[in-house]
């Protein structure tokens, strides 16, 4: 079970024990099982149309013949009627594996007083909702991790028990790891994804996109081959998204040993620009390869976020 009433990371008491401090702050997002189901029910539940065209049972339309097309699909009746070579196409219903990659590094455990829960908790809710939707459609769902401790990766499975396994794995996850001290974590985490993700798979990365190595966007974009779709969901805490500080402040990063002394009002604009620059850079890398970047804040409605992800995965604008 996730820890209720998380540790006071925001200027809170110092005497909480280390175990509680390391546990994920689920806040208002617990229990994950119910929250994810509620979110999934709020999303349009239905079988998504497979974008894959080719051999199948339902007619999908005509197109001009190009050399190399299978002559079996040449429509003779159309040739006689229109004196043109047309090829018949069919839509086929196939399974599309959903691969969820969750960032469980230390920065994902951050939660400000205004937020309903930690960033990882919010990402887990979204991931579980996506898994439920995918499983309901008969698509297998796999789970991978970026950093974290005691995180169990799950291969792509379908069926009724798959949702429970995914929820259990998400609940057992403990934030940990430092991307600044170990940049190879990204490569180690994405390598099995690239290896196991089949053609047409949808890869959803849920991360705050902070402290990622410089090569991370390229690594992520490399997944968008073999007709795979990559959606990067940036999950931020409202404090991170708005930078509401005023006056002199000293800020300490979760990963690495960065300590910044600054004036809140004076630094806000520069910070927000740098934050947006990270997302924009990833977007510039992913979009040409059919990927999308979805921006989310933990105070956003998870239903809307899931719809945005589904829309992005379906090729619409996020």
């Amino acid at each position: 079970m996730p820890s209720r009433g998380g540790p006071a990371r925001w200027g809170g008491a110092e005497r909480v024990n280390a175990e509680i401090r390391q546990a994920l702050d689920w806040g208002l997002l617990a229990p994950l099982h119910l929250t994810a189901r509620t979110v999934a029910d709020g999303v349009y539940a239905g079988v998504h149309r497979s974008p894959k065209r080719g051999a199948g049972i339902e007619f999908g339309g005509h197109r001009n013949y190009v050399p190399g097309d299978d002559l079996r699909w040449l429509d003779r009746h159309a040739l006689m009627r229109h004196t043109r070579l047309l090829v018949r196409e069919f839509e086929t219903e196939t399974d599309r594996t959903l691969r969820l990659v969750l960032d469980a590094t230390r920065s994902m455990s951050f939660r400000s007083p205004e937020a309903p829960g930690a960033k990882l908790a919010y990402a887990a809710v979204v991931a579980a909702a996506l898994a439920r939707i995918a499983l309901a459609s008969g698509d297998p769902v796999a789970l991978d991790w970026l950093g974290g401790r005691d995180c169990r990766a799950l291969p792509g499975t379908a069926g009724r028990e798959a949702f429970d396994r995914i929820v259990g794995a998400l609940q057992d996850a403990t934030p940990g790891g430092d991307l600044t001290s170990d940049p190879a974590v990204v490569e180690r985490s994405l390598l099995p994804v690239a290896r196991h993700a089949r053609r047409g798979s949808i890869v959803v990365l849920l991360s705050d996109l902070l402290d990622l190595p410089r090569a991370a966007p390229e690594r992520l974009a490399a997944l968008a081959t073999h007709r795979r779709t990559v959606v990067a969901v940036r999950v931020l805490d409202p404090v991170e998204a708005t930078f509401p500080f005023e006056g002199p402040v000293r800020l300490r990063s979760s990963e690495g040993s960065v300590l910044v002394e600054t004036d809140g009002a004076a630094a806000r604009e520069g910070y927000l620009a740098a934050l947006e620059g990270i997302a924009a850079e990833l977007e510039d890398t992913l979009v040409p390869r059919g990927g999308k970047v979805v921006r989310a804040v933990t105070t956003d409605d998870p239903v809307a976020v899931v719809r945005s992800i589904l829309a992005a995965a379906g090729g619409e604008a996020a």
């Binding site: 902070l210 630094a267 520069g270 740098a274 934050l275």
Partner: protein, 676 residues
């Protein structure tokens, strides 16, 4: 200090709270976790500057506020050390301020201020605490004690009088000052009377009496280590200086230096030296170490004939620097007295000095007695003397009479003791200006004793002439010359002592010689008293060439001016004062010498140098102890309460306002910096 005051002041310890908060805030300045901290641009200078601005000014204001609050709670119980008058049931007080203006009050205390400054400040504080209806008198305790301000209820006048007080080099006359203070308060109707001693008490103890005296300033009675030059005199090629020291330690490692004061001199030294080049001023001629002992010591040094005015000074430092320098009195500054005496007639059988010389020396004045066999007939020689005593003169030749008359005209005083030789006056000689015509010597006088009632002006010593038993007398003329008065008579009414005024001078004529064979007149105390009278007359006319600080110089009605160490000295007219009952009233022009040093006096065409010296007791005497009652009697308060609540409350309000303004300014500045 009561518990309430301590508790209120303890509130001041709360200044530690804003101080601690300041350091805590500076130390931990809102440090918090923020995962994307690496993306935040650093602005430490702005942050630190703003932090510093806010912290320092606000911290200061807050500390001041807490301190002011603590003081506000303690007031009016805070006491300030300041003299004031305690009152019994609020009644008016009559008090006499005895302010000691003697030399010893120049001593520096451990506060860095002199006793005089502290005493004057104490007088001001006491007058500040006086109220309408209080009476105050101010008495100066320098010798002789003087009334600076008669008892008055005009407090403004008293304050002005205190401001006009000046310290002098006088000795201390504490007893006289206390008596004067008591007498000045005696006639006042006030029930509560005080005598306040603002003195170092370096004198004999003040006499007991009513009202009792109160000496509130203990700092004035701190012991001092001091050495001072009392006087210095040139004798031939030597300079003898009298130095007084309060302790042996104060004389240790100190030397007496003889210094050239100024090349010009009015004395005969320059003439005697016959020097072409006068020594430059400030040059040290010689020096001699002081003996390491307390009390008075005489230090003699050889100086030769420098031909200049000299000073002596002590090396090193002590409590009173003012008395470390003194002018050297020239050799001819002593009052010269010529004794024209026939040794064979006026000496006792055992030999030695004549009775006249012995009597003059017994006076122990600053006079130089020179025995002469003949009266000089040259005026220049007579000028060296202020007084001449002639014993049994056998008449005076014409040249001597002319010189003597002119000398008398210029202020000389001569006493002729007529004896048997008046019958042997030579041809061409007379007894003028002492007596006109022939004077007869009576071997068997009708009366051989003096009428003591006619001699009462001489004082108590006049009674010693009772039963004189003279074996002869000079029969002075019954019809005396003009300007002549009879000062004393024989028992049968014949004149015995005449006084004739000749110009500024006086000629005294007595009808009895000093010879012990004719009478024991010269052996009686009245003879010394008569010579003392002559000396005082001579001193009054020739002027005291050496005197002690605080002396009063009187001057005849001629144009006079005095230049002292402190500039020109004022000569003022006083009221009439009768010196003797039969003398009549005489207008006086006097000057009071407050400071020791060299004075240049010009009387008409005559110039002279007068030396004013110190009292050795004043230099070396330590303050005397005072009984506890006099230190702090119950009716007089040494401290007073000061209520400054209104001022502190206003300060507190100002501080509050300052903090508000500062916060507004900081907020505006922060917003402006955020915009930029």
């Amino acid at each position: 200090m009561s518990f309430v005051v301590v508790a209120a002041l303890a509130v001041g310890l709360l200044v530690a709270i804003p101080l601690a908060a300041h350091y805590l805030r500076r130390g931990r300045a809102r440090s918090q976790e923020f995962p994307p901290a690496a993306l935040v641009p650093k602005r430490p200078p702005i942050a630190r500057r703003m932090n510093r601005l806010e912290d320092r000014f606000l911290l200061l204001v807050r500390l001041l506020m807490v301190a002011a609050l603590a003081l506000l709670g303690a007031i009016p119980l805070v006491r300030c050390s300041r003299l004031s008058l305690g009152r019994e049931a609020g009644a008016s007080v009559a008090f006499a301020l005895v302010v000691d203006d003697s030399l010893s009050m120049r001593a520096t205390t451990d506060t860095g201020k002199s006793r005089w400054v502290l005493a004057q400040a104490g007088a001001r504080q006491l007058l500040r605490s006086a109220r309408e209806g209080d009476a105050v008198a101010i008495i100066l305790a320098g010798r002789p004690a003087r009334l600076a301000l008669a008892a008055t209820t005009d407090l403004d006048a008293a304050r002005r009088a205190v401001e006009e007080l000046r310290i002098s080099d006088r000795a201390t006359d504490l007893a006289g000052a206390v008596q004067l203070a008591r007498s000045s308060l005696r006639q006042l109707p006030h029930v509560d009377k005080r005598v306040v001693l603002l003195s170092d008490l370096a004198d004999t103890a003040a006499p007991d009496g009513d009202p009792p005296s109160w000496a509130p300033l203990a700092k004035l009675r701190q012991p001092m280590a001091n050495c001072g030059v009392v006087q210095a005199e040139q004798r031939g090629r030597r300079v003898d200086a009298t130095v007084a020291c309060s302790s042996a330690g104060s004389a240790r490692k100190r030397r007496l230096e003889v210094v050239v004061d100024s090349p010009q001199t009015d004395s005969t030294n320059a003439r005697a030296a016959h020097l072409d080049e006068a020594p430059e001023a400030g040059r040290v001629l010689t020096s001699e170490s002081l003996a390491v002992r307390s009390g008075t010591q005489t230090v003699g040094v050889e100086v030769g004939t420098p031909g200049a005015d000299l000073s002596v000074r002590l090396t090193g430092t002590d409590a009173i620097a003012h008395d470390d320098v003194a002018p050297v009195a020239p050799e001819d500054s002593a009052l010269g007295i010529a004794a024209v005496v026939d040794r064979t007639a006026a000496s006792v059988l055992t030999g030695g000095m004549t009775t006249v010389e012995q009597a003059l020396l017994a006076l122990q004045g600053a006079a130089t007695v020179r025995p002469l066999t003949l009266l000089p007939d040259d005026l220049r020689e007579l000028r060296a003397y202020a007084a001449i005593v002639l014993d049994d003169p056998p008449g005076l030749p014409a040249e001597a009479r002319a010189a003597l008359s002119e000398w008398l005209e210029r202020g000389g005083v001569a006493l002729a003791l007529l004896g048997p030789r008046v019958q042997a006056v030579q041809l061409g000689s007379t007894l003028e200006p002492f007596a006109s015509g022939a004077v007869r010597w009576q071997q068997q006088p009708e009366s051989d004793s003096i009428d003591l009632t006619s001699l009462s002006w001489l004082g108590s010593e006049a009674t010693s002439l009772a039963d004189l038993g003279a074996r002869g007398r000079a029969e002075l003329p019954g019809a005396p010359m003009a300007d002549t008065r009879v000062l004393a008579r024989w028992g049968d009414g014949n004149p015995w002592l005449l006084e004739r005024t000749v110009g500024r001078g006086v000629a005294l004529t007595a009808g009895l010689p000093a010879s012990v064979e004719l009478s024991d007149f010269a052996l009686r105390p009245a003879f010394v008293a008569l010579l003392d009278h002559v000396m005082s007359l001579a001193t009054a006319r020739a002027g005291p060439l050496r005197s002690v600080a605080g002396s009063v110089w009187s001057f005849p009605a001629v144009e006079a001016s005095i230049q002292g160490p402190d500039g020109a000295l004022e000569i003022r007219e006083t009221g009439t004062e009768a010196q003797r009952p039969d003398e009549g009233d005489t207008a006086r022009r006097i000057a009071t010498v407050e400071l020791a040093g060299r004075y240049r006096v010009k009387l008409g065409e005559v110039s002279q140098v007068r030396i004013v010296t110190l009292d050795p007791q004043e230099v070396s005497r330590q303050p005397s102890k005072l009984d506890a009652r006099a230190q702090d009697d119950g009716t007089s308060a040494g401290t007073s309460q000061v209520d400054a609540s209104a001022e502190l409350a206003l300060l507190l309000l100002l501080l509050f306002a300052a903090e508000l303004v500062m916060r507004l300014l900081l907020r505006t500045r922060r917003q402006a910096s955020a915009r930029t």
